[in-house]
Amino acid sequence: MAAGETMGMTTTYLDAISQALREEMRRDSRVILLGEDIGVFGGAFKITRGFLDEFGSDRVIDTPISESGFVGAACAAAIEGFRPVVEFQFADFVTCAFDQIVNFAAKAYYRWGTPVPVVFRCPSGGGFRGGPFHSQNPEAWFTHVPGLKVVQPSTPYDAKGLLKSAIRDNNPVMYFEHKHLYRRIREQLPDDDYVIPLGCADVKREGRDLTIVTYGAMVHDSLAAAERLAKDGAECEVIDLRTLVPLDKKCFLDSVRKTSRALVVYEAHLTGGFGGEVAAIIAQEAFDDLDAPVVRVASMDVPIPFSPPLEDAVLPSADKIYRAAVDVLEY
């Protein structure tokens, strides 16, 4: 399902997240929100605008700047029967609550059998001149922490359906929403209360010549590259992982078995990024089907710089994906 183009009754990625939160809060009184400036102000990105009025200060809790403190509190409230959704003002500050997420949220159920149904909303990603501390894509760290689920939607439809699933899930879920998609991507959403199960990748474009495995903002750049390749006569299959943990291996392995070529695209830094995991899985499990090396396109291994020409050089783009795809196709 690609992003809709019509502007009529369409919903932005940002509003889709907002809708999911509001509908879940109406549906289930155990859902509470914690985060900085989410009350009167409606959050740095206005996702919770109006929520304080509708749900009150018991359920929309403005926190001091203490990520570790309110993450720990949210986890405990989750164990005690609430379903907290925590907003990090920027994903970059997840580092300040790293211990509580990694050592408390992720491990409690394995150790004690007490579920920790909490969602951490992390506005992530670059492309809007945010500089080194407001542009990071830290999802890979969390894929390496057993006990966490990791979600990263690319479209309004997915953002809404996946956030609902995340809130209803009984495990701690890291939900990465890409800031650069907030107001840039819109599409028509169904009226019904749909959910998208965690662990299901989505074929955003079908093709037989090359499989592009990607997620998050890079889905759109990959689709743009695929359009251009189609003009050249090559049909790419674009697979949007949607959730990294649990990972829908079958979806992309089936595709690679069909196309025999794979390109893995992600916005995070190349080295140690989750695309390495995906490439390793393809290399191990689809070895006999491959006609070309598995190639990765990702951000360069430097902090994300502020200045436009520098940031553009660091981030992957449709153009870079296109060129890598050509190489793989011509191999």
């Binding site: 509470i32 018991d58 926190t63 001091p64 203490s66 570790s68 403190g69 309110f70 993450v71 720990g72 509190a73 949210a74 986890c75 405990a76 409230a77 989750a78 164990i79 005690e80 029967g81 609430f82 211990d99 509580q100 050592n103 408390f104 491990k107 409690a108 159920y109 394995y110 150790r111 004690w112 059998g113 007490t114 579920p115 149904p117 057993p146 006990g147 689920k149 009984n170 495990n171």
Partner: protein, 342 residues
């Protein structure tokens, strides 16, 4: 920097217990049973560790039993608490069975952890009100304590969360962030600091710029109180006030009990960093011995009565070891089970 030669504020010091309430004989004996059972259990644990029967490490709360027992004795059944590593007595007070604890130290297949976590830690909200948290990173239980207390407040339940902690664990940022959050929202969080003078080997003077942890309470606009931790009556008196304050919706309350751990940080630690004079000073203030003195004199118990309880405890601990030996290890086939909740 080193601990000063004064081992305790003279105002707090005492070598005999000062009863401040009228208590039923039964209660007096219950507290005795809990403290004695803890002492006996931990002595056995240490012996097993030295013999190689306990793997990893063994941590005792010897010398601090009056705090855990006294605080637990003034909690309500539906209150929650967390223990760190010196509060085995509180587990026993709340009904945890010694054999269960021993089986956990052996890494055996008993719920709720099934061998996954160390014997040192236990979480079981339903049966004992024992709250899960991230065991190891110090101070991490203050934010989670605030979270349980938040849940109580949101539900308008008159319940209290009691966070036991050592004084060393008051240095990490989590201590500050957790209490800050609780104080802003006036959550029912009681912080019981067992200040035993050392964080592992580090004396308090290297840990903090204030003399007392309680000196930090004004930073949160909450009451902070200092008391002698080896007199169970004193512990009860102060803890009761703290817990009732929190239960009334007046917000967090911090109590610092001065005490001493008579064993190393863990049994692998020979405590060479503790001056001999300090050890001797505190041995004269052993909470169990002081309590026995009281029971046999002011308390009106005979030594036969106490001996009977001692024998009971010894038997329970022996039984615990036998049980722990007899229970199977968890099956490696179940190692991947219960990673994600449905």
């Amino acid at each position: 920097m080193h601990t000063e030669p004064i081992y305790l504020d003279p105002a707090l010091d005492r070598t005999a217990i000062a009863p401040v309430e009228l208590v039923a004989r039964e209660d007096l004996l219950t507290w005795y049973r809990v403290m004695r059972l803890t002492r006996t259990f931990e002595q056995k644990l240490a012996a097993l560790y030295r013999q190689g029967g306990i793997l990893g490490a063994a941590y005792l709360g010897t010398g601090q039993e009056a705090i855990a027992t006294g605080v637990a004795s003034v909690m309500q059944p539906r209150d929650y608490f967390n223990s760190v590593s010196r509060e085995l007595a509180a587990w026993f007070y709340r009904g945890v069975e010694p054999k269960h604890v021993m089986a956990r130290w052996f890494g055996k297949d008993v719920p709720p952890s099934h061998g996954r976590d160390l014997g040192l830690f236990l979480a079981d909200l339903e049966r004992y009100g024992l709250a899960p948290y991230a065991n190891a990173p110090m101070g991490s239980w203050l934010p989670s304590g605030a979270g349980y207390a938040l849940a109580f407040k949101l539900r308008r339940e008159p319940r209290v969360y009691v966070a036991f902690t050592g004084e060393g664990a008051t240095s990490p940022g989590d201590f500050y962030e957790g209490i800050n959050f609780a104080a802003i929202h006036k959550l029912p969080l009681v912080i019981i600091v067992a200040n035993n003078g050392f964080a592992y080997s580090t004396p308090v003077s290297d840990e903090m710029p204030v003399k007392n942890v309680a000196d930090r309470a004004p930073a949160f606009n909450i009451p902070g109180e200092i008391a002698f931790g080896n007199d169970i009556f004193e512990v009860r008196r102060v803890a009761r006030r703290a817990i009732e304050h929190a239960r009334q919706g007046l917000g967090p309350y911090l109590v610092e009990f001065k005490t001493f751990r008579q064993r190393g940080h863990g049994e692998h630690d020979d405590m060479s960093y503790v001056p001999a004079g300090l050890r001797a000073f505190w041995e004269r203030r052993d909470p169990l011995r002081m309590y026995i003195d009281y029971l046999q004199h002011g308390g009106g118990m005979t030594s036969d009565q106490l001996s009977a309880i001692d024998a009971e405890c010894t038997a329970l601990v022996e039984e615990a070891v036998q049980y722990a030996e007899s229970v199977p290890y968890p099956s490696p086939e179940k190692v991947a089970w219960r990673l994600y909740a449905d």
